[in-house]
């Protein structure tokens, strides 16, 4: 069966995530990150941040709600049960702090078949409430047995 590639080039609506202190703390705790700038307002301010700051990989928390509708869109055709995350590229700009409102726009850039697997490549672009670039991401999902 040929791989359905019609969704390549498609964009989905942007969605906005409000960053909060407790979510940053929860994420940092799950990763075992102990730097007080992720937990304590005074420590964050002393280090030059306007509020409790997120670790870089917290980007998945604010970007995933925007990416999920794209990755799960039936028109893209990914079988979630046989999907694995193949690769990931992130490039960071401004740090994300509690109180930020981060808007992420997803796009599907490529769908192709290789070695009997389907490769689905998405890009994300995230900006904060001041229009500053926070993150660019490339998300590669692999579906076995297409």
């Amino acid at each position: 069966m040929a791989l359905e590639t019609a969704a390549a080039g498609r964009s989905w609506p942007a969605s906005t995530y409000q960053v909060g202190r407790e979510k940053i703390r929860e994420y940092a705790t799950a990763l075992g990150i102990e730097n007080p700038v992720h937990f304590d307002l005074e420590a964050a301010r002393a280090a030059g941040f306007r509020d409790v700051v997120a670790p870089p990989m917290f980007c998945v928390v604010y970007a995933l709600p925007a990416m999920a509708p794209a990755i799960l869109d039936p028109e893209v055709g990914i079988n979630l049960a046989t999907m694995v995350h193949g690769g990931q590229d992130f490039e960071w700009g401004e740090p994300a702090c509690s109180g930020d409102e981060i808007t992420t726009t997803p796009k599907c850039t490529e769908i192709y078949e290789k070695d009997g697997k389907g490769f689905y490549v998405f890009e994300s672009n995230s900006v904060n409430q001041d229009g500053e670039q926070v993150l660019r991401g490339v998300w590669t999902n692999i579906v076995r047995g297409v």
């Binding site: 979510k23 929860e26 994420y27 705790t29 799950a30 990763l31 075992g32 990150i33 102990e34 730097n35 700038v37 992720h38 280090a47 700051v53 997120a54 670790p55 870089p56 990989m57 998945v60 928390v61 995933l64 709600p65 979630l80 049960a81 046989t82 694995v84 995350h85 193949g86 690769g87 990931q88 590229d89 992130f90 490039e91 960071w92 740090p95 490339v138 076995r144």
Partner: protein, 131 residues
């Protein structure tokens, strides 16, 4: 960074995620794909058991490099690109290691990976830090 040279090993990070880590990470990240939190479901789709989130393992790679080279400064990591190939499993030690590949002014590029024994769960990873 006067004390850093191309070819230097980045100090390792060793973490053993407990049985319930994938559940905590699912809650923290919002990724509740059942292959990560439901062993029966995972086995039914051909996996050895519920597997770690790739982005959790990538998070450890980010943590290891920022911690080792920048004292954990969240501003230091500018770029991280990884491939996920092996499946990461809970209750097995993860070792994140790296080697400095290039230094250009205050920008350092590290080749890095995360492994559980012989199973390289994050590979061909490249981290760029501003120090």
């Amino acid at each position: 960074m006067a004390d850093l040279d191309v070819g230097d090993q980045v100090p390792e990070l060793r973490v053993t995620p407990d049985k319930y880590l994938p559940h905590r990470y699912a809650g923290a990240s919002g990724d509740f794909n059942p292959i990560h939190i439901d062993a029966e479901f995972a086995k039914a789709v051909g996996l050895p058991g519920n597997i770690l989130h790739g982005l959790y393992s990538m998070g450890l790679v980010a943590r290891a490099n920022a911690q080792a080279l920048a004292g954990g400064d969240p501003r230091a990591l500018k770029r991280l690109s990884v491939q996920f190939r092996g499946m990461g499993l809970p209750e097995q030690e993860i070792v994140v290691a790296g080697t400095v590949r290039s230094i250009d002014g205050d920008r350092v590029v590290v080749e890095t990976e995360a492994a559980q024994g012989e199973n390289r769960i994050v590979r061909n990873a490249e981290a760029e830090l501003q120090l």
